[in-house]
Symmetry: C2
Subunit: 359 residues, 2 copies
């Protein structure tokens, strides 16, 4: 077996080794039932327990109130970009969006096909280097919901706090479970699992009960929240293995002290890296102070050539996946819950050495 690398990929991304080992064992045989977890029926007691325990752990870890459903859907966060307006608003009704990056823009594009869209704020002119504060924009009074992306993976920005709105909808794909949160302030929270919660193939949707049955009658069955809410996410065969890995990751998170403990570690990890960036002019952070993400740390070097060299040499010492998103270039270290602090120390050390050689 090769040495395990430090995996800075933005998603799919690093997972706890304990989770991987358990998942691997379960693929061959699950719960002494003489079948692997890929082979058990989704209606079997074995798998029903997986789904129920996974939901219970998410409810416990996030403090999800009783009047919210937790759904396990397919299609990625990208499908939610359409499902949210399809279920919540109709033609002629309005929804408000904050445009803080690529994923917000994609969600806005989908919403515009379906409803009247107000873009109340955009940070596009400054390369999405910040998120707005509540004083920076106004939400139209007749808007059905306010939509934001809590953490912008590509640009490395994150909302440090959330605005108030009767129906706040948040794409939390890249920072769910990374910090404590009052779920009751949201109408819908959704997140693809492959960053902070497990592996690709399942999207967690936490939805307040009053929003579940607002879809028009002609909306196809699979695109309706009600379909999945009524059947405990078992209307059709769910992505069983992805749900199982999600559950194992939730168990790991709980054993490590839950979300508050995770947040403390995440703050420490990010602080070490930002400190290394701020201590020199050789490295420059992309995100403004006050908007910096705890999950994705984006930075530049003096030239694109040096950046390419940095990424290559880092990979050679097992610091992999540091290349920035193709749309903005530069470097990005994605340091989700499962990313070990040791990897940050190694990166900071490497950064100092690289600067000494090339600065």
């Amino acid at each position: 077996m090769s040495e395990r690398v430090f995996n800075f990929n933005p998603g799919p991304s690093t997972l706890p080794v304990e989770v991987l080992k358990q998942a691997a064992a379960d693929v061959v045989e699950f719960n002494h039932c003489g079948m692997g977890v890929l082979e058990v029926s989704h209606r079997s007691p074995e798998f029903m327990a997986v789904a129920e325990n996974t939901e219970a752990l998410i409810r416990e870890l996030m403090g999800v109130p009783d009047d919210y459903k937790v759904l396990f859907l397919q299609g990625g966060a990208s499908s939610q970009f359409a499902m949210v307006p399809l279920n919540l608003v109709g033609p002629g009704k309005k929804a408000t969006y904050l445009n803080t990056g690529t994923w917000a823009k994609k969600a806005i594009k989908e919403a515009k096909m379906i409803a009247d869209v107000q873009v109340a704020y955009s940070s596009e002119e400054t390369s999405f280097d910040h998120v707005p504060t509540v004083n920076d924009y106004q939400v139209d009074g007749d808007s059905e919901y306010l939509y934001l992306v809590s953490n912008n993976t590509i640009y490395g920005t994150q909302f440090p706090e959330f605005p108030g709105h009767p129906t706040l909808v948040a794409d939390m794909s890249s920072d769910i479970l990374s910090r404590t949160l009052d779920v009751s302030r949201f109408g819908i929270i959704f997140a693809g699992a492959q960053k902070n919660m497990g592996t690709a193939g399942v999207t967690v949707v936490i939805i307040r009960n009053d929003l579940i049955n607002r879809a028009p009658e002609n909306l196809p069955t699979m695109f309706r929240y009600k379909t999945h809410a009524d059947k405990g996410s078992m209307f059709n065969t769910p992505p069983c293995f992805s749900i199982h890995v999600l559950g194992l990751t939730m168990r790991w998170l709980k054993e490590r002290g839950g979300v508050a403990a995770m947040e403390a570690t995440n703050r420490k990890k990010a602080a070490v890296l930002y400190q290394a960036i701020d201590a020199t002019d050789f490295y420059r952070g992309h995100a403004r102070n006050g908007s910096r993400s705890l999950m994705n740390v984006t930075f530049n070097l003096p030239t694109p050539e040096l950046e390419a060299r940095f990424i290559k040499e880092a990979a050679a010492v097992n610091l992999k996946g540091i290349k920035g998103h193709r749309s903005i270039g530069g470097c990005r270290a994605s340091i989700y819950n499962a990313f070990p602090g040791e990897g940050i120390d190694r990166l900071v050390e490497f950064m100092a050495g690289f600067e000494k050689k090339h600065g």
Copy 2:
């Protein structure tokens, strides 16, 4: 480790042990890259190779012509029930369906929300115990496509041959790759992977190029075939692990001689079981001769009480998952590609013993 059982589940269902062991190893470490297959980026060379090889194997095994795309989508076959009419027809246009069971009915329900639907044939009155021949129905001339379910998992019926139509659409979720097929006779073939091809979470869609770009402009991005065709099924993060298991299963299938070899084995396996059913009045097959499925063998015992006892006693000797679908009761043995012939022999032996005791 417990003894491996014979798993007659209808899906998720039994997989080759070789596939499970390789998948398990890959979860912990993939291709000596210092990460597990759940952790590699979907844009990494490692995963791109997985997706490309998987597609190439499907093309080779099924003889997919060059003017067809092979897509890996999420949402299950149930999402295709809506995607097919959403992409192929608009309001006022017509589509024709053959109603041969629960899954056909669900597809009809979705199509009716979207288009003008002709149900050209239904076997509902006789408990879906057969499929029609081409002489049993007429397709309206102005119909954009003819839709059928090639194998009806719940009722144990299967089309022995296919009608001709310029745009034949087939849900092959439960018999894809189980018998040789002329793909060029179809407009769209789709199948959830969790029966004959791998694990839940990915749906394979084989679509003729001229059908890809017929969707109306306001159809959400994720629901358009073109979105996924243009990006090689990588518009957003795909269900990576499910695609990997699909690829491993395709490799296994190729090593076993491909689809023709699989068909020969499947015919032999089914014949043994139907012979055991036909040899006595104690067991009665549900499907009519001429419509019998090679994949799902449905049968009844003299009373529901005996059926319940049969299922329980079979499970006690490691013949599991024989209970019929809750909508029709009785017994069902699902014997997909990966189900071993030895399991059929064991079941037939058990059936004889059970009859001797209770007949």
